[in-house]
């Protein structure tokens, strides 16, 4: 009799209070409903669909580019946080800190991982968008999520752009000089853009070199430390914060709009 009632370690563990407090619903899922509930009841698992059509996850249909983009985003977040322990966003130290990270800090590959990951994410986001377009997955009811995706693409490019300045080498400085000068040509909001002169009272211009879109971007009339600091904060805090909100909406809508679209 004792043999029959003896439970396995796993079964005993599943009945403990600790297990039940961690995994809502408790117990090892034994049937379809319990399996479904265990997915729905976990904050991490619930991002996944409970069930999906077999043909919708064929690699040749999805390319897995959306998932890869998110995976690379996670890599960039983790490696980026690690880089922040050494990098100082000042003109004096920025460049040498990058050299230090690459050459002296143990596992200097972390910096390369971040850099190549950044390139890869831009590519995977593009490919994801290309796949979604070619499979017609942007069509109703997914048109709203397509728009969210366009914003995510824009945010990805902005993250790439802001990160580009941080090594503070010649390439970076001139790239952002050029980018800043493009901002100067923004209609109405750039001091040299069309319509900027319209925003004036009498002789007083409201859009000047010290108050236009370029100034907001680089924090000064000339490229300097203010630009470096602004880009650093945007790159490490501002843009990731915004992109995570949009990603949450994006993933949520993938699920709510019927999951991954199926091949026609």
């Amino acid at each position: 009799m004792a043999e029959q009632t003896k439970k396995s370690f796993l079964e005993k563990a599943a009945e403990s209070q600790v297990w039940k407090s961690i995994f809502r619903g408790g117990g090892v899922p034994r049937n379809r409903r319990q399996r479904m509930m265990s997915v729905l009841n976990s904050v991490f698992l619930h991002l996944h669909p409970v069930r999906l059509p077999k043909h919708a996850v064929k690699l040749k249909f999805t390319w897995c580019m959306g998932g890869l983009s998110f995976f690379i985003f996670l890599i960039l977040t983790i490696s980026g946080i690690l880089l922040m322990f050494y990098y100082r966003p000042t003109i004096e130290y920025a460049y040498t800190d990058i050299i230090d990270l690459a050459e002296q800090v143990p596992f200097g590959i972390m910096r390369e991982l971040h850099r190549w990951g950044a390139h890869a994410m831009v590519i995977t986001v593009w490919l994801h968008m290309f796949r979604v377009f070619m499979t017609g997955s942007y069509k109703p009811p997914r048109e709203f999520n397509w728009s969210i995706g366009v914003i995510l693409l824009l945010l990805t490019l902005l993250l790439s752009f802001t990160g580009y300045l941080l090594p503070w080498d010649q390439l970076a400085i001139w790239a952002i000089t050029v980018g800043g000068n493009m901002a100067r040509a923004t209609p109405f909001l750039g001091s040299e853009g069309p319509g900027a002169a319209l925003l004036a009272i009498g002789d007083i211009n409201f859009i000047t070199m010290a108050s236009d879109a370029r100034f907001a971007l680089i924090g000064g009339r000339f490229m300097g430390e203010a630009a470096l600091l602004r880009f650093y904060v945007l790159h490490c805090i501002g843009l990731p914060f915004i992109i995570m909100i949009f990603m949450a909406v994006h993933f949520w809508r993938v699920r709510k709009d019927g999951g991954i679209s199926t091949p026609v």
Binding site: T177, V178, M182, A210, F215, G219, G220, R221, F222, A226
Partner: protein
């Protein structure tokens, strides 16, 4: 049946209907006052949110800028040779000082295409931008590459001491006819 008896003997006590405009009892929230408070709340909320976003926007435009001084003394006119481009202020202030037969002018080192810094090529006597190949004559006039307009000139005047003062906050553009301004060109 019993219920029916009761109502027959005792006239039902009916509450007076809440008529429109009826004054509420003290501390009582009526439907009408609730909506006026609600709209007031929304106005307050929108105003506070709008105010905060305005503050956030204004926050990005500081009142004091810690940027390098934009006006500097560039020595005496005799320091500059006629017919030559002086590049000694290029790195520090981003200015070329050029003297010709009639006088001296200060040329901005910012390419008018996308803002890179061209180089003065002595042998071919032109400014050449390394980014996209724009070329400018010694006067600052563009003649090759994608640059859409000539280089800008800065305000250049003589101090009482006879020294040249170059003021980068004031710029003069050829295509706007500003190079004829007396302070865009120092006659010596």
């Amino acid at each position: 049946m019993q219920e029916g008896k009761k109502t027959a003997t005792k006239p039902p006590v009916r509450k007076a209907p809440a008529a429109l405009g009826e004054t509420a009892k003290e501390n009582e929230v009526t439907r009408r006052s609730f909506f006026s408070w609600l709209s007031l709340g929304w106005v307050g909320f929108v105003a506070a949110t709008g105010g905060f976003f305005t503050m956030m926007l204004r926050f990005f435009f500081p009142n004091v800028l810690f940027e390098p001084v934009q006006t500097f003394r560039a020595g005496y006119p005799d320091d500059y040779t006629i017919g030559e481009v002086d590049t000694k202020w290029k790195n520090k202030y981003g200015v070329w000082v050029i003297r010709n037969d009639e006088g001296i002018y200060a040329l901005s080192t910012v390419c008018t295409h996308l803002g890179c810094t061209p180089n003065w090529l002595i042998s071919s006597r032109k400014f050449k931008c390394p980014c996209h190949g724009s070329g400018f004559k010694m006067t600052g006039i563009n003649f090759e590459g994608p640059a859409p307009r000539p280089l800008e000139r800065y305000r250049i005047v003589l101090a009482d001491s006879g020294e040249i003062i170059i003021d980068k906050t004031q710029k003069y553009q050829q295509e706007k006819g500003q190079w004829s301004d007396p302070e865009a060109f120092l006659r010596v």
